[in-house]
């Protein structure tokens, strides 16, 4: 059987859902960040798939930019994470509720 667009989109949806579940359910902020990466990559995958399907270079360009931005964003996110850890001595986000109203 051939791999069609739907397969890619299905995979993308699965990855996206796993990512969202990870973000919503895990306590460890590192895992949350990793789950965010999964969401990113699900989106990238669907972009790449559509680019190939529509034979348009635009999607590829989007993907490259998105990965670049994601890398930068992960760097910033990890830096904040390290700073938070140093300050609060914890990586569990249910303990990081200082901002409640």
């Amino acid at each position: 059987m051939t791999v069609t667009l739907n397969h890619y989109l299905l995979l993308s949806m699965v990855l996206f859902s796993i990512g969202v579940m990870g973000v919503l359910l895990r306590r460890n902020i590192i895992i949350v960040l990793m789950s965010l990466e999964l969401i990113f990559n699900a989106a990238n995958l669907s972009l790449a798939a559509f680019s190939y399907y529509l034979q348009s270079i635009n999607g590829m360009v989007f993907v490259v930019f998105s990965i670049t931005v994601a890398a930068a964003e992960v760097a910033v996110g990890l830096a904040i994470l390290v700073a938070v850890f140093r300050f609060r001595k914890t990586v569990y986000i249910d303990e990081l509720n200082q901002m409640r109203g």
Binding site: V23, L24, V32, I93, D94, M99, R100, G101
Partner: protein, 677 residues
Amino acid sequence: MFDIIWLIPLFPLTGAVANALAGARIGRKAIGWIGCSAVALAFLVATVLFFRLTGLPPDQRSATVTMFGWIASGGFQIDAVFLADPLSILMALVVSGVGFLIHVYSVGYMHDDRGFGRYFSFLNLFVFFMLVLVLSGDFLVMFFGWEGVGLCSYLLIGFWYEKKSASDAGKKAFIVNRVGDFGFIIGILLLFWSVAGQGVQSLRFDAVFDAARHLPPHTLTLVTALLFAGAIGKSAQFPLHVWLPDAMEGPTPVSALIHAATMVTAGVYMVARNSVLFTLAPVTGEVVAGLGIFTALFAATIGLVQNDIKKVLAYSTVSQLGYMFAAVGVGAFSAGIFHLMTHAFFKGLLFLGAGSVIHAMSGEQDMQRMGGLYRPLKATAITFIIGAVAIAGIPPLSGFWSKDEILYEVFRRGHPVLWAAGLLTAAMTAFYIFRQVFLIFSGPSRADEHTRSHIHESPRVMTVPLIVLAASAAIAGVFGFPFFKGGSPLHHFLSPVFAGGVHHAGAVAEEAAAGHGATAFILMGVSVVAAVTGILLAAFLYAEPFRRRAPSGLHPEVLAKRFTRLHNLLLNKYYVDEIYGKLIVDPLTRAARTCLSFDLSVIDGLVNGTGWLTRLTAWFSHQFDIYIVDGLVNSLATLVRYSSGVWRGLQTGYLQNYALIFVVGVLLMIAGVLVVI
């Protein structure tokens, strides 16, 4: 010729400033040298001027020396001007001469005092002001000196200011003098106001006296009466005599210099200086003479019973000043000045002698605790007795001539009543002064053992001035000796000053020529008899060998018992102080208390009421602030707080809550889009 006259007051002023500034550093010896030499130099200059003056013909013996302009306002001009004429130079000689001897004496008397430098500074300052007073050629300059000597008197009476009685006495002297000086300055102002009407915009003696001849008599009477009020205060005449006995709280040389020899005679000098005015106002002259003799008699009676060695001399001074006023009052100005001069010698001597006795008795002043001091204090005793004989009026010592001349002039000018009172006073004078001599020097010693063992003659620095003064007191009568050809030399010397008044030019010569006829000799005899009677009475009462032979009943205690009320009256000085206390001091105190209670109730009430009102307003303001202003702010905050409650619940702070809402929202949006499409 008289340009150097300003040196006379300058030397004592320099001495005063030098001792005031450097007195703490230069040691007692240097202080004494500065103080004495300053006065000695003044005396020297005065002597030089005296001889220059006598070198001139009598009618030219008056020169004014203008130093600098003092006050100039429009046409009105007051200069610091000195006057050199027989009267002023004679006074300068007496002041600086007696002043010098008393300064020398003070070196010994004050030797152990802490305030040695301060003392000499004040004493020199006093001599400065006194010389300004007698040498001034202008009423205001005279007033400057007049007030200055008052100040120095205050400073020196209260010299031992740690003693309450001394500082009180100083205040009393100053305040009582204020009463007289008020009259004096009003008199000067009235005089200026009157002569200004004549176009004279000055207070110089010569200008004023010239203009005064054209003034109406009642104005002159008022002016002279006011001037005499100043003299009453300064020269301690009744009723302002109360300060002088209290002034004895000061050091004894001060009593001798200020309160016997010089300052208190300033009133007599002032009346004599204004002889022109006083002869133009005969009514005031009568008052002056009458009050003078009254004071003489009044003070002499008090002096009869006093037991304090200095108080006797103080009342004696008041009494003798009364004599001088009697003389100048009846117009015998040179007789008054003559007595002023001899009195300066013998009363200065008596005070210094008393100081020497007090010194020997370790500060004891009560004559009842003395006695028998003749042998241990020979020099003091002999000089004191010479002074006593002089004041008692026994010829040929000076007091006889001056006192007799006054009595003669009073009698001759038609005041037999005053003469009789003066004669009685003379007898009393002889009595109280010899009572004092006998109590101090004769009989057994009544001192306690401790004091007796310390009795010693004073050092030479104190006895030498006593001897010089005793010699002066003995022979000074020569100057007023009436038997010289052409009358007494002093009279002659002073005549240019006093000739300007009623006495037209010939009168003086006429007077002198009339001289002392048979009446004069009879009066002399009577006054000698009075003086001897006084002395004998004192001897029978107080001197040992006479006392035993005295008739029964002639004994101090018996007499005191027999005349208890009179004795008490005299012992309490006629209750004048008490009367002043009741009439003036008490009402003043009561008025002050009334003012105090007014202050406490009304003024303080107002202030406190205002404070209370402010507090009340502040309380209301506070309540308004708390309940209204704060209430508004708080209720606004509360409103915000409750209204925000729902939305605050959303802000859980849990990241995953937000993410969940986010996801649910996205899903709802997608669902919405799907439904719509």
